[in-house]
């Protein structure tokens, strides 16, 4: 698997798509997590951002959210929906494109077991994701430090436990969406359909189902355990404001507790990866 990861590091590391998606997430995170909220804070209406800068939040709450000790939560709150969608695209493209380009065929005839080859891809993607999460937190800490300094606020850094919880939650949420993208890329054997289906599911279908479940009681039992709900619930459990709250973040929810969310996210990630690895190992490679 080390050999496979070394190979994948070349092809994923030199893939412009990897950096475009990672860069997009970093820009989105800073823009919606800090820039818009800070502009809202500086203006009088207090509106904007995917944090509590949206309508209804008090200026004090808004400023508190922009301080360094809130950085782990700010990092996590955008992941259930927006960040998740971006890493889902990364997973779907990284695996699905190989079928379109015929590169899986080339790799599988080079020698490694298919399981090992895909595990190398997953390991490398996981490494990139971990790096992205750490960089995100680093940028968020820098941005919040800049805001605190600009507003002459005392700088209080997040505690180690909060930081670890934030990093763990961010990894679990984004890891689950990455695995979902990998599964879709594997199932559809191509990038386009995988990305399309993934985005429709993560951005539209789950939201619609959650809306309908308010009208159809039994459906709630299902919507409460969907991947996006679990991701949103983990962010909610860390303290991010739920979508339903004034000034809440889209995708964040509190319909299930943090422990249940962690277990569900773990189960989804394992299931998505297991199906992808099994299918890749056993199927006929005809392209």
């Amino acid at each position: 698997m080390i050999a496979s990861m070394r190979a994948e590091l070349i092809r994923l590391g030199r893939w412009p798509t990897t950096w475009v998606l990672c860069g997009t997430w970093l820009v989105l995170n800073l823009t919606f997590g800090y820039l818009f909220d800070y502009l809202s804070y500086r203006s009088d209406d207090g509106d904007g951002g995917f944090g509590p800068g949206s309508a209804g939040a008090t200026k004090d709450a808004l400023l508190a959210q922009l301080m360094p000790d809130s950085a782990p939560v700010t990092m996590v709150q955008g992941l259930p929906m927006f960040g998740g969608a971006l890493v889902l695209i990364l997973g779907a493209l990284a695996v699905g494109s190989g079928y379109g380009w015929g590169t899986w065929k080339t790799v599988f005839t080079t020698g490694p077991r298919r399981f090992t080859a895909l595990a190398g891809t997953l390991g490398t993607l996981g490494g990139i994701l971990a790096g992205l999460i750490v960089v995100t937190l680093g940028l968020d800490l820098l941005a919040s430090y800049a805001v605190a300094t600009a507003e002459s606020q005392p700088v209080s850094w997040p505690g180690l436990a909060d930081t670890a919880r934030g990093l763990g939650a961010a990894l679990l949420i984004s890891g689950m969406w990455l695995a979902a993208g990998v599964l879709l890329g594997t199932l559809t054997r191509g990038p386009a359909l995988a990305v399309g289906l993934g985005l429709v599911w993560s951005l539209v279908v789950e939201n619609l189902l959650r809306g309908v479940s308010g009208l159809l009681g039994p459906l709630e039992a299902v919507t409460d355990v969907l991947p996006g709900t679990s991701a949103g619930a983990l962010a909610g459990a860390l303290g991010a404001l739920a979508q339903s709250d004034p000034g809440g973040t889209p995708g964040v929810t509190t319909v299930i507790g943090g422990t249940a969310a962690v277990l569900l996210l773990g189960a989804y990630t394992v299931a998505f990866l297991a199906v992808s690895l099994t299918l890749t190992s056993r199927r006929d490679i005809a392209s």
Binding site: A3, R11, W101, G102, T106, V107, F108, T109, P112, D284
Partner: protein, 308 residues
Amino acid sequence: MGGMSERIVVTHGLTKRYGDRLAVDRVSLTVRRGEVYGFLGPNGAGKTTTLRMLLGLVRPTGGEATVLGHPPGSPAGLARVGALVEGPGFYPYLSGRDNLRVLARYARLDDVAVAAVLELVDLTARAGDRFRSYSLGMKQRLGVAAALLGEPDLLILDEPTNGLDPAGMADMRDLIRALADRGQTVLLSSHLLGEVEQLCDRVGVISAGRLLAESTVTELRGQAGLLVRADPLATATAVAERVLGADRVSTADGALRLSAGADRAAELTRALVLADVAVTEVRPQERTLEDAFFEMTADFATEKETTP
């Protein structure tokens, strides 16, 4: 290491069925070390599916195969096989060299191996360019370079000249010929008779999923014949049948086609002249692989029609 008689690919009754369609039907073939084996058949005959089964990309529905003594697709076997199947599959945004470096990492090889195969296929000068900017011929050559990584014992090339212009085809054939001259065992599929005739020592002919024949090119061509143009044709036919036997005489395009060697030409001409037949042409007629191929596939088609 064994000699030319060492069998490095052996299949018995290899079969692949997709639903109701039988893509490969009980194919049993043998490739020996050091030879260039041509897998000849029209498009859709089952060549690529057979090669995919030998590489473990596709699971057989029935039958068995060993490649270099290993089951198809096993890492131990694949480590000694290089393959280019149904066109080169590379990352378009990476350079040719980086594409090979990715594969070299998978195969636990270093960059020296990459440089060596780039040199071998004459791509060193363009190795830093992105794959997507390559011409079709360069892409195919990069595919062969990838297949050559790690100095494999067996090279499997599926239609390596497909889509190339005449100059590209000639380059690719020269490359394969050069590899063969170094003692490289090559299993080459093609629908081009001339290509197989030029490059291959032995040929397996496949049609509609069935292996119709497996032999050397010379044996498949069969015995050379004689072509005779004479007037009147009816008298000439009668004389030829008397001299050679009726089963060795046929007519086509207003000429006699005789299953006889050039050593019978003088005797036959004398008999025709004595029978007052005007002989305008007598010449040996080389039977091409194309003739043999079409006869075989026509016979097979007839056999299929008459067999319920």
